[in-house]
């Protein structure tokens, strides 16, 4: 094997410029793909993290039909206490669930006594909400960042509302809401804090204590609009959601169908489409890389065989077995692939390291100064590297096969 690799390397060095150009193509392709995966992947992780860890949770349980009407936050589709109890029982029994947070959501009017505007409000249990969406507290741009997110009688409002209504921390405001029976009720709150608005569903909601929400809505029993769930391992989202769904199937409505629905974050957020687009783009970039390597290596190997026909005839005549001639040319493709992959990977990792040192910032929706911190998993690097090497060898296969099947007499006569 060493003999074959030695001769293959010399043959590659015979046409230095051509080999270098081919290597350059592979290296550029590798760097482009790995950088794209690292940057797009970190953007996707940041985006998914923002959505799941500061708003939605990993998944949610709702009463059937609630999500279909979620824009109007229908109070008549809240979960009844026995539904909540059944859900909590299922969540407690599932070891993959870390915690969960019941929420009461409603739409209302927000007044600073001078102006009035609409507001979407989420009533939360502060401790459970902080455990389920740990980045929520971090969005607080004004007001205390430690302690409970909100106490009874307090409200946390989104930054856009604060600016629009010129409301400051400590101001007293009124929230007015209509309950499920149609009666209107109002309650005063002290502004505890101001939350950075983020893109996505519920990214501009105000937060009050769940008891205040129930009081405002004059609930006679502790209903819940949704239960947000946090898992111990995000990568177990789909199987765990299936398990929860199965556990809740026993609770049926009048039609005999499951009364509750389990939705994963991507079924609730339009940004899941963006995440899927990033995956699609990554796939297309990988296909482009495969094409570049395939065409570049095949081109150089076809040329190599064409230019060395007499040489192939000579080595065949003196008894080199066809399989060894095949190996010689495959080894050239392999070496191009390996050298290109190693160089491309090294440059990519250096570039990723450099970007992390540089820490450039970007804006995402309402959020400014998000730091780009590209990372790439070792598995991704190995997969791409293996893909490039395999494609380089596959691209050499046809020219190598042709060389190994060459008739020595015709090859020796070739001018």
């Amino acid at each position: 094997m060493f003999d074959i690799l030695d001769i293959a390397s010399r043959n590659l060095l015979r046409y230095r410029r051509r080999s270098l150009l081919t290597l350059l193509l592979i290296v550029i392709g590798m760097v482009a793909v790995l950088l794209f995966i690292a940057i797009a992947g970190s953007f996707k992780s940041m985006m998914v993290g923002q959505i799941t860890d500061s708003i939605l949770g990993h998944s949610q349980v709702h009463r059937k039909g609630y999500v279909a009407s979620i824009d109007s936050l229908p109070l008549n589709l809240n979960m009844k206490p026995q539904m909540v109890a059944k859900t909590e029982e299922a969540l407690k029994a599932n070891p993959a669930v870390e915690t969960w947070s019941p929420r009461v959501k409603f739409g209302g009017m927000y007044s600073n006594f001078a102006e009035t505007t609409s507001i979407r409000v989420t009533g939360i249990d502060p401790a459970r909400e902080a455990a389920t969406v740990p980045m929520l507290q971090g969005r607080m741009v004004e007001g205390p960042k430690d302690g409970a997110l909100v106490e009874k009688g307090q409200i946390v409002i989104p930054l856009l509302l604060s600016r629009g209504m010129k409301t400051k921390v400590g101001d007293t405001v009124v929230v007015v809401a209509t309950n499920r029976d149609g009666s209107v009720n109002g309650k005063t709150f002290v502004v505890r804090g101001i939350l950075e608005s983020i893109s996505g569903p519920s990214g501009r909601d105000g937060y009050i204590h769940i008891d205040d929400a129930r009081e405002l809505l004059r609930m006679t029993e502790p209903e819940v609009s949704e239960i947000a769930i946090r898992l111990k391992d995000f990568s177990r989202l789909d199987p765990t959601s299936r398990q929860i769904r199965t556990a809740l199937e026993g609770l049926t409505n009048k039609e005999g169908k499951p009364a509750l629905e389990v939705h994963t974050w991507d079924q609730l957020s339009p940004f899941a489409t963006l995440a899927r687009m990033i995956d699609m783009l990554t796939l297309f970039i990988k296909i482009m890389l495969v094409s570049i390597v395939l065409v570049a290596v095949m081109n150089v190997m076809i040329m190599a065989v064409f230019e060395r026909i007499r040489e192939i005839g000579t080595i065949a005549a003196i008894g080199t077995p066809p399989s060894r001639i095949l190996s010689l040319f495959l080894a050239e493709g392999l070496m191009l692939g390996v050298v290109g992959t190693v160089t491309g990977t090294a440059l990519s990792l250096a570039a990723i390291f450099g970007i992390n040192l540089w820490s450039p910032t970007f804006a995402f929706g309402q959020q400014q100064n998000l730091v780009m911190a590209p990372t790439i998993a070792g598995g991704d690097v190995l997969t791409i590297a293996a893909m490039v090497v395999v494609v380089a060898v596959v691209a050499s296969l046809q020219p190598a096969w042709k060389a190994s099947r060459m008739d020595p007499i015709s090859a020796l006569r070739h001018v």
């Binding site: 001769i7 015979r14 005839g313 005549a317 003196i318 077995p321 020595p408």
Partner: protein, 229 residues
């Protein structure tokens, strides 16, 4: 006993719809250790005959036995193995591998065909280079040596694996007269030293006199049965 034995040997090529006979039913025998020339004008069938003797081509009919092997029975792989084990080749254009040094060119059959261990092949290559007078050029590349030196290297490469038979198709065609004589002298010396049978083709009347046995080919037929000089 004959090293090569041909009986009613024919070779016909098909060009389009036409059959073109290149060798027309010839018989000959070549003894071990002989120094033989196939001579004749261009197109007389010398190269075709050498290709068949070298197991690079199959006869159309008749039999051709080389080292007691009917070469018609050898498939592609077996023919390659047979050539690697028993036959050395010297080409008109030398056909050295440009990316390898003189030493590595001579080493090639031992390294890539017969897979000798490194130490053993180093000793053998050194011996062969000394035998052809190229020991001091071992580290040069083919483009750094003259035509005559290239052919010496080619002879060393043909002999390095100790074949029973060396075939040389027009080995002196690209050399000047003096150099051509020196190459033939070298081939004879190698025959004497290693007891290898040398068969070469030529159309140069001055060179053909160097052979001990000459077969004259005319239009695919033998004009003599092998005249001894």
């Amino acid at each position: 006993m004959s090293l090569v034995h041909a009986s009613n040997l024919t070779k016909t090529y098909r060009v389009g719809d036409i059959d073109v006979p290149a060798i027309k039913g010839i018989d000959f025998a070549i003894d071990a250790g002989s120094f033989v020339a196939f001579v004749g004008p261009s197109g007389s069938g010398k190269s075709t005959l050498l290709n068949m003797v070298g197991c690079l081509d199959h006869p159309t009919s008749g039999t051709l036995r080389v080292l007691d092997t009917d070469i018609a029975t050898l498939d592609r792989r077996a023919a390659a193995r047979f050539r690697g084990e028993h036959i050395g080749f010297v080409f008109q254009d030398f056909n050295l591998i440009p990316v390898l040094t003189v030493f590595e060119n001579v080493e090639y059959p031992l390294r890539m065909v017969q897979k000798w261990p490194a130490e053993k092949r180093r000793a053998q290559v050194t011996r062969m280079l000394a035998a052809v007078g190229m020991a001091d050029q071992a580290d040069k590349r083919p483009d750094q040596i003259s035509g005559g030196q290239k052919q010496r290297v080619a002879v060393a490469r043909a002999l390095v694996s100790r074949p029973k038979l060396v075939l040389a198709d027009e080995p002196t065609a690209n050399l000047d007269h003096d150099t051509a004589y020196r190459v033939l002298e070298l081939m004879k010396k190698m025959r004497d030293e290693f007891k290898t049978t040398f068969v070469f083709s030529t159309h140069d009347p001055k060179i053909m006199g160097e052979a001990e046995t000459t077969f004259t080919l005319e239009d695919g037929r033998l004009a003599n049965g092998g005249s001894h000089v």
